[in-house]
């Protein structure tokens, strides 16, 4: 067990070397002796490792103090100071690298490569100056940690790296990474020691270290703050005294940590007390765990394999054979692909396969862009479906987590191209048993090829938990025995290799009818033979049915909870269910349909009414319009809500379309108005105006919509040109209300015979009257009522 050191900055402040606003790292050059003394005091207290005073000594952070060009000078001096202090002792030096203070795009505006370069620079200088380890600490976002580790590995390949995230009280980093996701990612990226520091006191940090020890066998480090700080007399004060911290040492040891230190608020006194406690502490026999095969996103972790339930990989993000999707992607419209991702996650996908094989585009750039966007949009880890090294390089570099490469086959050239990329970025690999002799037919032959890939992978430093295998799925249409052979392959892999299995389900039914049913049956069989992760279409509900049933039958659904949730009789979600009351007259049924928003039923109800000989105008006035008026009144009284009014309005629209279709050329609603409408100058709210327009059009008004932020001149001109009898003005804020007055004055000046209705959340009838309006509408349905009155209709 090893003791690290404590805070540096506070001591420099206390000793008068640092005033607020000074760059702490400059002290290495300006007060080298002070730095050396602080190091010595920690060594004297018992520290086995000390951190160089280079926490903020990266180019980006130093830029805030105007000394970005001093990275080399500062880091060299810092290591020099540390070396002088450790001379003659066994204390080792940690080259400290802290945050840049910026968020990486798309979370912030700083480019990943700029952060990488800054850390590369710092790591190489620290390494060549002679540190024993590199320490990346106090990191709150996974992308920054990734940039730092990748840079450190590249700049100083032979120096072990210690990585610490900073967690919040909810057990996640500020941007949502859990200890488990952090540990799995850090280990896959090649960190030697992992853990957490800062932000929390020992009581809150210790459980997070325990959580890491459940998914990794790597040595663990913990450096808590001396509790949560308070501001007293203008100074930040940390509550835990040296003996308080010391009391936590045994608990820190029991969490599995073998590297223990302190962060903010700790001093040589704290560390001395902790040294004593550490020397007395009972060592903890940490349970050796089997490292899981797991994929992570910024915010979640998904385990695949033995002891975990099978997981669904959504296959839909694949442009093969989908012309519209290809076009969208070529035009850089990502909304459809984002919608596809969200739909799959909603339907139950645990992982998403991402394939960007679109013709006529730079596939690497497209993949990079899509990965950036989707990794922000969903919690779900992504799988990179590509074999081109340039596409993989771009995607893996920017993915904020640990992904899976789909896939690598037994071809030597492909293996030598892809293995290094997987290793560098800590990605898992799906192995395909296809070699120079094409697709092997038998399970035994497939196993041979997988073994070849597996062994070659391990040679390059990839680990058992990085590898997954595909049994190959061929269409049942082409070969009688192919499906059986796939199942046999799954069983063989499970018994021999003990690595998780992934397969693309849909191939099995290619070229056959009844695809979805066949896929569902094969899914159930494959799961029984040990398949861990099918690549399938989660939007097909009978496939999910098969999945849920299989999980129950294979023992993954305790108390049949998920099964019952999915299959119990749900009440039909139909608020608009027509009361099938035979005694209701056709007109009453129509009214009910509008009231309930039954867009689907209105067509047949109208036909029923027409067949009963009811005049279309009677249907319109006494059936449809009467219903809209009634619902408008209810809305005004607060007995129903705006969305219901909107759905009723849509039902009216559907009714008009149906009537026009049933009586071609004979059905026309009289066009009232026109009604000119605008949101006044300086005001950009238009939702209310849009709702008013919807209801006016429903009532037969021709509406001239001038839009928002409309000048009085434009409104006057529109009224003039259209000879509109009605104009509606809307304003939402006190700051734009005066434009109502101005616009009304402008209209009155022209001596137009137009009637003016005003509305908007901030207006009142008193204000409207004072401003000279003809009417004040308190809501959208009120507007229609007033328009009809002003037009001389009885309502």
């Amino acid at each position: 067990m090893f003791l690290l050191d404590g805070a540096m900055g506070t001591l420099l402040q206390q000793q008068g070397y640092l005033r607020p606003g000074d760059c702490p790292e400059l002290s290495n050059i300006e007060h080298p002796q002070a730095i050396e003394n602080i190091h010595r005091s920690y060594i004297k207290a018992g520290s086995d490792l000390i951190q160089t005073n280079t926490f903020g000594a990266n180019r980006i952070k130093l830029n805030e103090y105007g000394c970005a060009d001093k990275v080399k000078e500062i880091c060299r001096a810092a290591v020099f100071n540390a070396k002088k202090a450790v001379d003659g002792t066994n204390t080792r030096i940690l080259g400290d690298m802290g945050p840049t203070g910026k968020f990486i795009f798309p979370l912030g505006d700083t480019d990943f490569e700029d952060v990488y370069q800054a850390y590369y620079e710092q790591a190489s200088i620290l390494a060549e100056s002679g540190v024993d380890l590199l320490l990346i600490q106090t990191i709150i976002d996974i992308q920054e940690m990734r940039a730092a580790i990748l840079a450190a590995k590249e700049a100083a390949p032979n120096i072990p790296i210690m990585c610490e995230f900073s967690f919040s009280e909810d057990g996640r980093t500020i941007t949502g990474t859990t200890p488990e996701a952090a540990a799995v990612l850090l280990e896959s990226l090649g960190a030697s020691i992992i853990g957490a520091n800062c932000s929390l006191g020992p009581d809150k940090l210790i459980p997070l270290i325990s959580r890491m020890s459940a998914v990794s066998n790597l040595p663990l480090v913990i450096q808590p703050n001396a509790g949560l700080p308070k501001l007293i007399d203008g100074k930040t004060v940390f509550p835990l005294h040296p003996n308080d911290m010391a009391e936590y040492v045994q608990a820190m040891v029991n969490s599995g940590a073998t590297y223990i230190g302190g962060c903010c608020g700790t001093s040589p006194e704290h560390l001395a007390a902790m040294r004593q406690a550490l020397d007395r502490a009972v060592p903890y026999k940490r349970k050796v765990i089997t490292p899981p095969t797991a994929l992570t996103s910024r915010t979640s972790i998904v385990y695949i394999g033995e002891g975990h339930p099978p997981v669904i990989i959504g296959e839909r993000i694949n442009p093969t054979g989908r012309k519209t999707l290809q076009k969208d992607l070529q035009e850089k419209n990502l909304v459809p692909i984002k919608t596809e991702a969200l739909n799959q996650v909603k339907a139950g996908a645990h992982l998403l396969d991402i394939n960007m094989g679109v013709p006529d585009v730079d596939q690497a750039a497209l993949m990079e862009n899509v990965v950036k966007e989707l990794s922000m949009l969903v919690d779900t880890p992504l799988i990179i479906d590509a074999t081109s090294p340039s596409v993989l390089e771009k995607a893996l570099r920017i993915y904020p987590g640990r992904t899976l490469i789909n896939s690598v086959n037994a071809d030597s050239a492909q293996m030598s191209a892809i293995f290094p990329i997987a290793k560098k970025y800590g990605a898992a690999l799906l192995c395909l048993p296809i070699g120079s002799k094409g697709i092997p037919e038998s399970a035994a032959d497939r196993l041979t090829l997988i073994k070849k890939i597996y062994n070659a992978a391990l040679q390059t430093g990839l680990r058992h938990e990085d590898l997954l295998a595909d049994p190959l799925v061929l269409t049942a249409a082409a070969s009688t025995n192919a499906p059986k052979e796939t199942l046999q392959t799954l069983r063989t892999y499970k018994e021999t290799l003990k690595i998780p299995t992934v397969m693309g389900l849909s191939n099995i039914s290619f070229g056959l009818p009844g695809r979805s049913g066949l896929n569902a049956n094969f899914l159930a069989m494959a799961l029984a033979f040990g398949l861990n992760a099918p690549i399938m279409n989660p939007l097909q509900s009978d496939l999910i049915d098969a999945y849920v049933r299989s999980l129950l039958l294979l023992g993954y659904d305790s108390a049949a909870h998920n099964y019952i949730t999915r299959f119990q009789n749900q009440p039909i979600e139909n608020q608009h269910q027509l009361k099938n009351n035979e005694t209701l007259s056709p007109l009453k049924k129509i009214q009910q349909a509008v009231r309930d928003g039954s867009k689907e039923e209105i067509g047949s109800l109208l036909n029923e009414a027409l067949n009963a000989g009811i005049d279309p105008m009677v249907i319109t006035n006494d059936g449809l319009t009467a219903a809209m008026t009634a619902i408008g009144e209810e809305y005004g009284k607060g007995r129903c809500y705006l969305p219901q009014v909107m759905i009723a309005a849509e039902t009216m629209q559907a009714a008009f379309i149906a009537l026009k279709k049933a009586l071609p050329g004979k059905f026309n609603i009289t066009r009232k108005g026109p009604f000119v409408i605008a949101t006044v100058k300086g005001d950009v709210h238009d939702l209310g105006k849009n709702i008013v327009i919807a209801l006016l059009e429903n009532s037969g008004y021709e509406v001239i919509d001038l839009g928002k932020d409309v000048s009085p001149e434009k409104i006057v001109s529109a009224v003039h040109q259209s000879k509109a009898p009605l104009v509606g003005l809307s304003a939402l804020m006190t700051t734009t209300m005066p434009q109502i007055d101005i616009t009304i004055q402008a209209l009155k000046k022209e001596n137009l015979t137009v009637k003016i209705i005003v509305g908007g959340a901030v207006l009142t009838s008193e204000y409207a009257q004072k401003a000279g309006a003809d009417a004040y509408a308190s809501n959208a349905t009120d507007t229609v009522r007033l328009a009809n009155i002003l037009m001389g209709e009885n309502q």
Binding site: F103, I174, K346, G597, L642, V684
Partner: protein
């Protein structure tokens, strides 16, 4: 000017219903709301920016690049003990409001209404994320933070929106102000958060009870 864009991994259905004017959730189809939330997620482009400034609670001056005096007794009470103020601006971009207009012009009124409500929820979520980050940073140094206060709340004049967006360089995330002091894109929020040793009960707890629209607002929580 630090940028923190946040991310929208889901949009709360209950909150969206509230913004759509559906105070109780029973009789309305969750599917329409869920679909709107998903559509909003796909179209939104969240962005955020913030700036730390000193605050002089005696003179009520915000000591940003172009210092200005904060007007309004309630906001001043709110910031009474604050030594530092963090000003922030977030938006989810202008594409959603365009889509809402398109839906209305296609007579898909309820979809448009729901999408607008989902967009409001999304904007508040992004503001919450940035707010959370600010709270954590403040706590690190021992400060407590006030709840976030926007121009227009209480008696903080909307006209000070001009000073605020200038101070936080909101134009860097493409937020502008109309001549009527309205934020463009519409789905944007600007706010101030005070950092103090201890945040005194300012007499204006957050919540619907203390808002001037308490009696008429269809989005009221309580």
């Amino acid at each position: 000017m630090p940028i923190f864009n946040g991310f929208l991994q889901k949009i709360d259905i209950a909150e969206t219903k509230r913004y759509a004017g559906l105070r109780t959730s029973e009789n309305f189809s969750d599917k329409i709301v869920a679909d709107a939330c998903m559509a909003a997620q796909a179209i939104a482009k969240p962005r955020g920016i913030f700036q730390q400034c000193c605050y002089d609670s005696d003179s009520c001056q915000l000591l940003c690049e172009e210092p200005f005096t904060i007007e309004g007794s309630k906001i001043r009470e709110h910031l009474k003990n604050s030594e530092i103020a963090i000003i922030m601006a977030v938006t989810i971009g202008g594409d959603i409001e365009k889509e809402v207009n398109t839906l209305f012009s296609k007579k898909e009124y309820s979809k448009g209404l729901m999408l607008d409500a989902a967009a409001t929820t999304a904007t508040e979520m992004i503001a919450d994320q940035l707010n959370h980050y600010i709270d954590e940073m403040a706590a690190k140094h021992g400060y407590e933070t006030t709840w976030r206060y926007s121009p227009g709340y209480g008696d903080w004049p909307l006209t000070q929106q001009m000073n605020l967006i200038k101070a936080v360089h909101a134009d860097q995330i493409d937020i502008h102000l109309t001549s009527g002091c309205m934020l463009v894109p519409q789905k944007s929020i600007t706010a101030i958060i005070g950092m103090a040793r201890s945040v005194v009960e300012s007499g204006i707890p957050s919540g619907c009870r203390n808002c001037s629209m308490h009696n008429t607002c269809s989005s009221r929580k309580e």
